[in-house]
């Protein structure tokens, strides 16, 4: 177990920030433990149903999810043990923002759903997503920049659509445009 919990000595370790240590790694550790435990329960149920043999399909899930839980517990201990890790330093970075990645993720999911469940089609959906993502990632809402994004978005999505449907024989939803 000593080998498992060994942490490479970190280079420069910042002093403890006022207000205590960041929560991020601990929440992550808790989520990882819970996920592992849930999957272990699932593996045990499946194993109880069909029985475990060394050459059967139920042993590996038990080993993997069991190992997951043990390692997640070790990680949890590390995050509480007061050892500053690279991760906590990242967490401390003042510029770290959750809003932009969350917005990007929402845009991605929306994009995928529009592609699948509406008749909008590949080109308009992709162009709209591109502009939204570029806006989220960019910092200057200047008119010239937005125009650039729109032009690139339309060009890129048309080019992809034509290349994939005409040359690669991979179908993409045509949607509302008469392509």
């Amino acid at each position: 177990m000593t080998a498992l919990t060994h942490e490479r000595p970190e280079g420069t370790v910042p002093p403890a920030a006022p207000g205590g240590r960041p929560l991020g790694p601990r929440i992550t550790a808790a989520v990882v433990v819970l996920a592992g435990a849930g999957l272990l329960v699932r593996a045990i149920r499946d194993a109880a149903q069909s029985g475990v043999t060394v050459d059967g399909p139920r042993l590996a899930p038990l080993i993997v999810t069991g190992g997951w839980v043990v390692l997640a517990a070790a990680y949890t201990i590390q995050t509480w043990a007061g050892k500053y890790t690279e991760a906590e330093r990242v967490e401390r970075a003042p510029r770290a923002s959750w809003l932009v990645p969350a917005g990007l993720l929402a845009a991605l999911v929306g994009y995928a759903l529009v592609l699948e469940y509406t008749v909008v089609g590949y080109v308009p959906a992709t162009a709209a997503f591109f502009v939204a993502a570029a806006r989220l990632l960019g910092d200057r809402p200047v008119r010239a920049v937005i125009l650039r994004d729109v032009v690139v978005a339309l060009g890129l999505s048309f080019a992809i659509y034509l290349a994939f449907t005409r040359f690669l024989d991979i179908q993409l939803p045509a949607g509302v445009l008469p392509l």
């Binding site: 080998a3 498992l4 919990t5 060994h6 490479r8 970190e10 280079g11 991020g24 992550t28 999957l39 699932r42 060394v54 050459d55 399909p57 590996a60 899930p61 993997v64 999810t65 190992g67 997951w68 390692l71 070790a74 990680y75 590390q78 890790t85 690279e86 991760a87 990242v90 970075a93 510029r95 923002s97 932009v100 990645p101 990007l104 993720l105 991605l108 999911v109 995928a112 469940y117 992709t126 997503f129 591109f130 993502a133 570029a134 806006r135 990632l137 960019g138 910092d139 650039r148 994004d149 690139v152 890129l156 999505s157 992809i160 994939f164 040359f167 690669l168 024989d169 991979i170 993409l172």
Partner: protein, 510 residues
Amino acid sequence: MSALLDGFAAVLTPENLLFAVIGVTVGTLVGVLPGIGPALTIALLLPLTFNLDSPTGALIMFAGIYAGAMYGGSTTSILLNTPGESASVATSIEGYQMARRGRARAALATAAIGSFVAGTISTVLLSVLAAPMARFAVMFRAADYFALAVLALVAVTALVGRSMVRGLLSLTLGLFLGLVGIDSLTGQARFTFGSVNLLDGVNIVVVIVGLFAIGETLHLASRPTDVPSTVAPLEPPRGFAWLTREDWRRSWRPWLRGTALGFPFGALPSGGAELPTFLSYTYESRRSPHRDEFGTGAIEGVAGPEAANNASFSGVLVPLLTLGIPTSATAAVMLAAFQIFNVQPGPDLFDEGGALVWALIASLYVGNVLLLLLNLPLIRLWVKVLRIPRPVLYASILVFATLGVYAVSGSVFQVLLAYAIGVAGFFMRRYDFPIAPVILGLILGPMMEEQFRRALSLSNGDFGVFVSRPLTVVLLSLAVLALVVPYAPRLLAHGRADRVPAKVTLGEDD
């Protein structure tokens, strides 16, 4: 030897040469994009080959894509100081300093020529070693394959990344993803949660795109100003002489030493190119007569690691082609690509599909030559790619990532799964979990389990099968060894890197 000549005959047709040229060019184009390493490049470009009828053409294109992606990665490291993979970090240390001091062309040239030299020498080694190795591999039984997979997994996890616990957790995630779907031996469903979409398991392209493209972009988006956006300028050309006589004199030994380090480390399951590139950097920075220039742009510090990086990939092909065991994330994608064309690497490949293997090896030579011919003259084009504004670049990466998964699977479920894995990848990057063990766990886990069960069912459940053959015992002992003593070489490799300013590692690969 005649088999290799046949391979060249197969490759050197106008059509296949065209595939090689397209592969090298597109591979470089995508590989140059900051944050995109070879594994993601191949995963994203897989759809390009779906329409090809012959597996030969597709494999040649992959070889070109791979070579181009590697070269593109070194360009980004040198000009932008944003290595797209951990194996390019060593290159970026001196390379970026050289570029800042107006020696960008020399740095790019020593990287390109070093890659060519290392790629050619190590492909020769691969040609010589592959066939005997395949004959040896025929003796491998199920228990040996199991032990070898264990060794590969343990070595990669122990040698890459900073924390054993986080590395093993990453590995566990990969092993779990590998369990999802129908069990190959009994047909029973595992962890499908009642969804038909999961019966076929989790596709490696989905995982790679999720972890490398989506996770990476989300991570970047959370740290808006951490990215250096200045591209080091190219100095005006001085005719064709990219390297001065002095540069050549200082480069050739590091090229050869880098090759000598890279190939064996690649061929052994040791976590791909990260270790040999840092070992090469360390060696050059200590032994070079120009030690004092290190940190301010010493050409040896570019020549050695770049050669090691390239040589290690040909080394990785030895276990991949002869045993079917991938030992780096890039090799795992290559394996997936082979399987799309029903090519199953392993000892049999040299019997049944021998022509195909030799065509692939021949195309590695061709790819190397094309790279040198195409890329140095086109450097201005690649620099333009680097100047793409960040929002446009990452919005495009997200579009291509979605497209890659959608085109491979045709299913929005898989796209959403890739996004979910991307969220996991975002947290993994944020909290410093290594990515490569996930990929290898996903690919090697099912292989390992199948061989384990096969061995035990042949032995009627007797675990003695894992200690009865010397080969199995040796491989398992090496795995234990890798778990216990990974620290000495790692401290050697990383201790030196601590001296240089903190690096922004945008992506991580093998």
